[in-house]
Symmetry: C2
Subunit: 240 residues, 2 copies
DNA sequence: CGGGGAATTGAGGCTTCTCAAGCTTAGTGG
DNA sequence: CCACTAAGCTTGAGAAGCCTCAATTCCCCG
């Protein structure tokens, strides 16, 4: 998933920001310039460690990062993901300390996120932050009220939507460079249970996951239409 | 918990904002003025409905609101709470639609949140928003990786911290106007299980919950110091 | 071709849920 | 002042989902 060796592109990050707010030439230029100065993060490298000073605004060009909380007894929870085009906001104050660790979940590329004026770029960053909030909300609803099967499917759908903003998907598939263990730490499950649940999804033909790509099959994520539903052949998803 | 009839105070909201960023006289005056124009929300009243236009910036003066996501099959997840001094941010754009519903979980009082200049008040709102994000993170860690017992205790502690910012607590107690059912919808549990877990906390002397007040007893929430811990008499809490 | 991380499988146990009924408390009207 | 009601709290019994521990297989990479 890394960029082809020497030439650094934005990986779709600019497309994503343009989808959030209209950018002008100066905005795009600033972003391309920033992408000329990329920073490569090998898998497992921390970008920001909890308790340490925050970096400035950063944009993800490629790969997946995770915002992570570690418990003293070893339990781990992934709070959220950062993929191409996602932005780590500027800290409020210079003294602000990170309350969670941000780690590369696979090899990744980031760059400082430029800001010029208070126009398109500023708006895009603002919208991006609001979107991040809705992803957190969705994650909470997932963890609090969905079954393992639903969590996985809903999360696949979210990541499909998000990667689509950066043009990194096809209509019914998305790149998936993470391990089942990582998925488990995000979805509040064990890797064993993630594995078994994925198998049930494969068996009933809902998805296929091979070679780092997840494919949705059939009339994919069929939302449940309500409590009075007829029993479904496949497990279904509740809406919202 | 409602303000004494006619005279409306800020209920501690101003104290909270001052704890987040230094305010000047003009800031305080603007807030006091806003508190003169309060809006009362009876329990169960929606302030904002998912899918509808967002209101402007709002500050909570009293009572508890909840950000709620409803599933088509009746499942409900409370995404977060809003208490005295908490702020609902200005929407990014005029077209923005709410992605979750905000409902009064008990009788509550709110007011439009004033903004003058880009000084103390603006900073306080910014810090408040960042804090909200950390509360979402904490909620995710709770739902994903804590047991029922830990979730409840951790949530009590969070609400104690938050209400303390507005001066609404005593050292070892906090007002708790919610039902066990509401708590269940926040913590991803059933009310039956919340009830049983609370009883075990009462039995072992960890808390007391009577008359709308939760009291922490003994050396309350003892964090686990790690995986190599000696077995504890009481259930313990992992750190972070 | 060996090594190691990741995926898979099995067996058994525990937390949490579901369904259902009984109880308590506060508020209401006669 | 007290029956009456409704909401919330409590309890019981059984089932289900998910976890733990542990071993085995698969697959990529050097």
């Amino acid at each position: 998933m890394l960029m082809t060796n020497t030439v650094t592109t934005d990986g779709g990050a600019i497309s994503r920001l343009e989808a959030l707010a209209p950018l002008d030439d100066a905005d795009r230029h600033a972003l391309r310039l920033a992408a000329q100065n990329p920073q490569r993060l090998p898998v497992s490298r921390d970008l920001i460690a909890a308790g340490h000073p925050l970096a400035g605004r950063v944009i993800v060009l490629d790969g997946w990062l995770g915002r992570i909380r570690l418990f003293s007894d070893g339990r781990r929870q992934i709070l959220g993901f950062l993929v191409t085009g996602d932005v780590i906001p500027e800290p409020d104050t210079a003294e602000a300390r990170a309350t969670s660790t941000i780690t590369a979940l696979c090899d990744a590329v980031i760059a400082p996120a430029p800001l010029i004026g208070s126009g398109g770029l500023a708006r895009a960053y603002a919208v991006s932050r609001t979107l991040d909030e809705t992803y957190l909300h969705r994650h909470i609803a997932r963890l609090g009220r969905m079954t393992a099967y639903e969590r996985i499917l809903d999360w696949f759908m979210e990541m499909h939507e998000r990667l689509t903003l950066a043009g990194r998907t096809e209509p019914a598939s998305l790149p998936m460079p993470l391990t089942q263990e990582t998925l488990a730490d995000a979805l509040g499950l064990t890797s064993v249970h993630v594995n078994r649940t994925l198998q049930s999804m494969r068996r009933n033909g809902t998805i296929e996951w091979r070679g780092g790509i997840v494919r949705f099959r059939g009339r994919v994520p069929v939302p449940a239409t309500g409590p009075a539903d007829a029993p479904a052949t496949h497990p279904t998803m509740p809406t919202a």
